[in-house]
Amino acid sequence: MVTVMERVNHIPVKTNMSVDELVQAMLKAGVLGAGRLGRAAGIVRRMFEDSEYFTLLSMSGPMVPGGLRALICHLVDIGHIDAIVTSGANIVHDLLEAYGGAHYRVPTEKNDQELREAGMGRIADLFVHEKDFEVFEKQIYGFLDGLPKDKMTTLSSSEFLKELGMTLTDDKSIIRQAAIKGVPIFSPGLMDSMLGFHMYTYSTTKEFTMDFVKDLRILGSIIKESKKTAAIMLGGGLTKHFTMGSTILRGGLDLAVQITLDRPEAGSLSGAPLKEGVSWQKVQTDANYETVIGDATIVFPLLILGALS
């Protein structure tokens, strides 16, 4: 009996390698994180090249503040992403920049007490000025003021974000691109964000509610009509489950890639391997999937630029 053995091919010393070449080299190394990344890039390439895949991008964690805004916006723009499932925070941070704000590195000498007094809210080693949040509030209030009465109580999160996206003028905004290109953005946890907070305060002066149930009908009928489904999941949490769970009536995702730093020992979905999803009918038994353990701000650019080449 002959066992074919796949050798670990060491990554070559070739300066000026393109991202695609580096990712291919990692695929040829074939083991540990490099191997996972190489295989994940192949799966993502299939998602992008085969238009029969309905591809969802799920994101939790500071993906927009972490520098991935342009990549995600580009994927929406060129039609490689068919739907986004995101935390409210990524929406807020995309809007902060759309309204003229920015994200900055925390100056090393400042501690959190000093940041608080200076009106700088910290996310790890980056921060946002409170002033940008004041602009954000005014803009959101202005948008809500302009909503016609029939839309004040009937919109789902994806419908709301589409309406909002159409009012933006920043072409680098994910929400704007998604609105223009008809890519729905689902945010099941939207109330847990500054956008949700402003909806709450606004609703104390005027009737305003959202229909979150409707989004399940909207996504449900899209999934039902899709030939095959695929997902790229950055981080875990609510958005990972919402993405996987949306395919439950058809037996799960056909292709899946996740990038996470979460550990599996706690049993939470965030750190769970994708193969666990097979037992829940949230991943097909013959699905192609790969998990890359790592920081999405490192892995996602390699994955995408590798797959786009």
């Binding site: 949040f133 509030e137 209030y141 709450y200 305060t201 104390t204 009737e207």
Partner: protein
């Protein structure tokens, strides 16, 4: 024109402003500093003038709100028709109808010929107290 605009931070307890079209009397107003939540906020507890419903409003303190212009008049009760009352304005001698006050204590003091204070706001007229 029965409404004028004013800035939230100028509202005081006892003052009136419109919440979703309903005139409400301010019971208390607390301010908070700006932060991640945006600009300085006013946290207002108010009660509806017509529906007596308590409301809690949280709003940016620099937002403009509508304030009802209140015309306070005196009138005499001419006829008690049960659900409504016929009044005569003490200055213009015009007669008009108002609803019987919902408040039991106030309604019990109303008989023919008593003088009442009437508030005219948002196109509606309400007896607020009996004067004599």
């Amino acid at each position: 024109m029965s409404i004028k605009k004013t800035i939230v931070k100028s509202l005081k307890p006892g003052g009136y402003f419109l919440i979703d079209g309903e005139p409400c009397r301010v019971i208390s107003i607390e301010k908070s500093k700006p932060g991640k939540h945006g600009s300085a906020k006013a946290n207002i507890v108010a009660v509806g003038f017509f529906d007596k419903r308590k409301r809690n409003v949280i709003t940016p303190a620099d937002r403009m709100v509508d304030v009802p212009l209140i015309d306070k008049k005196t009138a005499t009760v001419i006829t008690d028709m049960g659900e409504t009352l016929n009044l005569m304005d003490s200055e213009t001698y015009e007669t008009y109808e108002v609803s019987r006050p919902a408040d039991e204590e106030l309604a019990s003091k109303i008989t023919n010929n008593v003088e009442v204070e009437v508030w005219d706001l948002m196109g509606r007229q309400i007896i607020v107290r009996v004067k004599s």
